[in-house]
C-alpha cells in the first residue's frame, strides 16, 4: 500500500485556496486515488486566514493534516509561511509565489493556479490531467488565462 500524500494550502479568504484544492482533488480523484479534502470556512470567508487539506493515496482515513505531517505546503503569500510552517514534515516541500516570476501573470487572480503549476513539478501526474481538472473546475472564460498561469508556475 502506498503512503498517503499530504498537501496543505494556506492563504486568506477570497484568494482562491478552495478552488485550487479542488483542482488538485480532481486530478488525484481522476487518477483513481482515494482522496479526502478538508477545509474550514465560515467566519474565515471574511478575509481571514484559511487552510485547506488534501490527502490522497490507496486508502485515506482522517481527512485532516496534523502538525508535522504535510509533504507539501502551498502558501498564497510569504506572510502565510510563519503561521503554517509547523505543518510541514521534515524534508517537506514549501511552494510559494517567489518560486516563479509573479509579475508575468496577466491576471493576479490566477496566482492560485500558478502555484499548482509549481507544485505539479514535484508530482508525477501528466500535464494534460492537470489541464482537464483546471477546465473542469473553472468557467470557460477563465480557461486560457489559468492554463497560462499554470504553465508559468510549472516553468514551461
Amino acid at each position: 500500500m502506498s503512503e498517503v500524500v499530504n498537501v496543505k494550502f494556506a492563504g486568506l479568504g477570497g484568494q482562491g485556496i478552495l478552488t485550487c484544492t479542488d483542482i488538485l482533488g480532481r486530478v488525484v480523484f481522476d487518477m483513481g486515488n482515494d482522496v479526502k479534502k478538508a477545509e474550514v470556512h465560515g467566519m474565515s470567508q471574511r478575509g481571514g486566514s484559511i487552510t485547506s487539506d488534501l490527502r490522497f493515496g490507496d486508502k485515506v482515513l482522517s481527512p485532516m493534516i496534523s502538525a508535522g505531517q504535510a509533504d507539501f505546503l502551498i502558501v498564497m503569500g510569504e506572510d502565510q509561511v510563519e503561521a503554517n510552517q509547523h505543518f510541514l514534515k521534515e524534508g517537506g516541500i514549501l511552494v510559494k509565489p517567489s518560486d516563479f516570476d509573479v509579475d508575468q501573470l496577466t491576471n493576479k487572480r490566477t496566482l492560485n493556479v500558478a502555484l499548482l503549476g509549481a507544485l505539479s513539478k514535484h508530482m508525477e501526474f501528466p500535464v494534460e490531467q492537470w489541464m482537464d481538472a483546471v477546465r473542469a473546475q473553472l468557467p470557460e472564460r477563465l480557461h486560457e488565462v489559468n492554463e497560462a498561469a499554470f504553465m508559468l508556475g510549472r516553468g514551461e
Binding site: L12, G13, D22, G25, R26, F29, D34, V35, K36, K37, A38, E39, V40, H41, G42, M43, S44, Q45, R46, G47, G48, S49, I50, V60, L61, S62, P63, M64, S66, A67, G68, Q69, Q80, E82, A83, N84, H86, P139
Partner: protein, 531 residues
C-alpha cells in the same frame, strides 16, 4: 442507477441521500456548517426546499409534512437545535408518520459559532435516535438509514454532523433511490394532540420504541468492529473513529454509527474482548459517561480533550495519556468586515457616540474586533433586544440611555420580533433604541434569503416582502427612522443621539445592501451561475 464514484462534501452527500430517500420537502435555517445541505438539495432535480424564518418554524413545518404521511429533512446548526428544542421534545412523544430526519451540524472547536455544545445530549434528553457519519459516504448512507429508522419506528431521527464531516470532501458511490410517498392525512387525535391525558401514554410508548431501537442497534446497527487486537480497544464515533484508526493502526476499533440509543450490550462485549479500552470522542464525554454508568470499564479521557476538534496527533496523545500542555497553533489573520461593507460606517458612528452595544449574531459581530471593538454583548440570535431592555430597566439613567441594541435584518426576522413585543409591553423608563443593520440578506452564512428580502431560497420573488418598518410601526414602536448608513452619516448620528436623549421607543433601520449580495445579484441577473 449509476454506481459512479463522486467526490463530494458531507453536506452534498446528505443532500443526495435525502433525494434518494424520497423526500417531499427540505426545510431549515442557514447556519455554518449546515447551510449547504439545503442549498445543494434545492439544486437537485425535483427537490423542493425552503428556508424558514428560524429553526423552530423549520421543525414545525417538518412535523406537518411528516404528519401528512410523507418525508422531510430539517437542517440547522447545533445552536439552532436550541431554538427548535420546544417542538423536538414533544414530537419525540407523538412520533411521525412519514420519515423525519433532523440534520444537525455541531461545531467542535468553534470555527464559526458562539459555543461548542454537543447535540448528542439533545438526543438523550428528548428521546430521539441519533446517527453519526464519519465521512461523505457514511453521510449519504446514514441519511437514507435515518429515514428508514424513522419510518420503521415512527420516530424522528437526528443525523449529527460536525464541521469536519460537513465540509470535507470524500468519495461517495451512490446507490438506489426511492419514490416520494404521496401525502395523505389521517386523523389521530390521541396520537398527536399532546394534552396530559394523551401525552402520558405517549411518553411510555416513546420509551418502548427506544428500547426496541437499542435492541436493533445491538444486533444489526451501523457499528462495525475493525481489527482484532486483544490488547487495546478503542470505541469511537464519527470522524474521531477515522483519526483513531490512523493513530493506532494495531488497535481494535468499534466505530459507533448510532450513538443514541447506544448499543450497550455490544459495547460491553467489546470492552470484555480487550485488555484495555479507551473511548475517543469529540466534545462532551457522552459515550464515556453512558458506558461507565452501565458498568463498562474504560480509561477515562483527560479533560483537556473535551475542548476543540480532535485530529490524529491529539488522538495519539489521548491514547498515550499525555496531559502535557499542547502547543498553541500560531494565530493567522482574523476575519474582518469587508472593505466597503455598510456595517463599517454604522459601527464607526456608534463608536464615536460612545454607545453601550448589546449585539447579535451575524457578520456585524466582527465589529467586536479591531478597529471597532464596539460591541458589549453577544449571546444568541435575537438576544440583542432582550439584553438591551434588561440593562435599560435597571441601570442608572446616564448609563441606561447609552444602551443600544444592534441586530441584523436576518436575525431580526429569526428572533427579533418577540423582543420588540416585549419592549412595547414592558417599556423602559428612558425608552430604548434598536438599530437594525439592514443589508438585505443573511450575509454571514453565505447570502441566504429571508422573509424580509421577499425572495425564496432559490432567489426568486416570493410575492410578498415582510417589511421591517411596517412591522415595527404596527407593533407600536414610537418612531421608526430609515436611512443609508454610508450616505447619510449626519442624519444617522442625529437620529441616534435624539433617540438616546428621548424616552421614545425608536427603531433606526440602517439600510444599504451587502456588497457581496450586490455582486451576486448582478450575476444572477446576467444569468450566470452562482454558488
Amino acid at each position: 442507477m449509476s454506481s459512479e464514484r463522486k467526490l463530494m462534501s458531507g453536506n452534498e452527500a446528505v443532500a443526495l441521500g435525502t433525494k434518494h430517500a424520497g423526500c417531499a420537502l427540505g426545510v431549515g435555517y442557514p447556519g455554518t456548517p449546515s447551510t449547504e445541505i439545503l442549498e445543494n438539495y434545492a439544486k437537485l432535480a425535483d427537490c423542493k426546499a425552503q428556508w424558514a424564518p428560524n429553526e423552530k418554524v423549520a421543525l414545525e413545518v417538518g412535523i406537518g409534512v411528516a404528519f401528512a404521511g410523507t418525508r422531510t429533512i430539517v437542517t440547522m446548526k447545533h445552536v439552532g437545535l436550541n431554538v427548535a428544542a420546544d417542538p423536538l421534545f414533544t414530537v419525540a412523544y407523538t412520533g411521525v408518520t412519514g420519515g423525519m430526519v433532523l440534520a444537525v451540524a455541531d461545531d467542535p472547536g468553534m470555527a464559526s459559532s458562539q459555543n461548542e455544545q454537543d447535540s448528542r445530549n439533545y438526543a438523550r434528553a428528548a428521546g430521539v435516535p441519533l446517527l453519526e457519519p464519519a465521512d461523505s459516504q457514511e453521510a449519504y448512507d446514514m441519511t437514507k438509514l435515518a429515514f428508514e429508522i424513522s419510518e420503521r419506528w415512527n420516530q424522528p431521527v437526528i443525523l449529527r454532523l460536525s464541521t469536519r464531516v460537513c465540509h470535507s470532501k470524500t468519495i461517495v458511490v451512490p446507490s438506489d433511490s426511492k419514490e416520494v410517498p404521496a401525502a395523505h392525512y389521517e386523523r389521530d387525535i390521541k396520537g398527536r394532540v399532546m394534552i396530559p391525558a394523551y401525552a402520558r401514554p405517549a411518553h411510555k410508548k416513546m420509551r418502548a420504541k427506544l428500547a426496541e431501537i437499542e435492541a436493533w442497534n445491538n444486533a444489526e446497527g451501523p457499528n462495525p468492529i475493525i481489527g482484532n487486537s486483544s490488547k487495546l480497544g478503542i470505541i469511537a464515533n464519527g470522524v474521531s473513529a477515522l483519526h483513531a484508526q490512523e493513530a493506532a493502526p494495531d488497535a481494535k476499533v468499534m466505530k459507533l454509527g448510532m450513538v443514541y440509543p447506544l448499543p450497550m450490550k455490544a459495547i460491553l462485549e467489546f470492552i470484555d474482548s480487550v485488555e484495555e479500552c479507551i473511548i475517543i470522542e469529540e466534545s462532551d464525554p457522552f459515550i464515556q459517561t453512558e458506558v461507565q454508568a452501565a458498568g463498562g470499564k474504560v480509561r477515562p479521557r483527560l479533560e483537556r480533550y473535551r475542548y476543540g476538534e480532535l485530529d490524529v496527533v491529539r488522538v495519539k496523545r489521548i491514547i498515550d495519556g499525555d496531559d502535557s500542555e499542547e502547543a498553541a497553533p500560531p494565530r493567522g489573520k482574523p476575519p474582518q468586515l469587508c472593505d466597503g461593507c455598510p456595517h463599517r460606517a454604522s459601527f464607526q458612528l456608534l463608536k464615536n457616540i460612545g454607545c453601550t452595544i448589546t449585539g447579535d449574531i451575524g457578520c456585524y459581530t466582527l465589529s467586536v474586533l479591531p478597529p471597532f471593538e464596539t460591541m458589549d454583548t453577544c449571546i444568541c440570535m435575537g438576544g440583542s433586544i432582550g439584553i438591551g431592555l434588561g440593562m435599560r430597566h435597571v441601570l442608572p439613567e446616564e448609563q441606561a440611555r447609552k444602551v443600544v441594541s444592534v441586530i441584523g435584518d436576518g436575525t431580526f426576522m429569526h428572533s427579533g420580533l418577540t423582543g420588540v413585543a416585549d419592549m412595547i409591553c414592558n417599556r423602559p423608563k428612558y425608552g430604548h433604541v434598536i438599530v437594525i443593520l439592514d443589508n438585505g440578506t443573511t450575509a454571514m452564512t453565505g447570502l441566504q434569503e429571508h422573509p424580509g428580502t421577499g425572495k425564496t431560497l432559490d432567489h426568486n420573488p416570493s410575492g410578498k416582502t415582510v417589511s421591517l418598518e411596517a412591522t415595527c410601526e404596527a407593533m407600536g414602536v414610537d418612531k421608526v427612522v430609515i436611512l443609508d448608513p454610508s450616505r447619510e452619516m449626519e442624519a444617522f448620528e442625529q437620529a441616534v443621539r435624539d433617540a438616546m436623549a428621548s424616552n421614545d421607543l425608536t427603531v433606526i433601520i440602517a439600510r444599504r445592501p451587502c456588497i457581496l449580495a450586490v455582486v451576486r445579484d448582478a450575476k444572477i441577473n446576467r444569468g450566470e451561475k452562482v454558488r
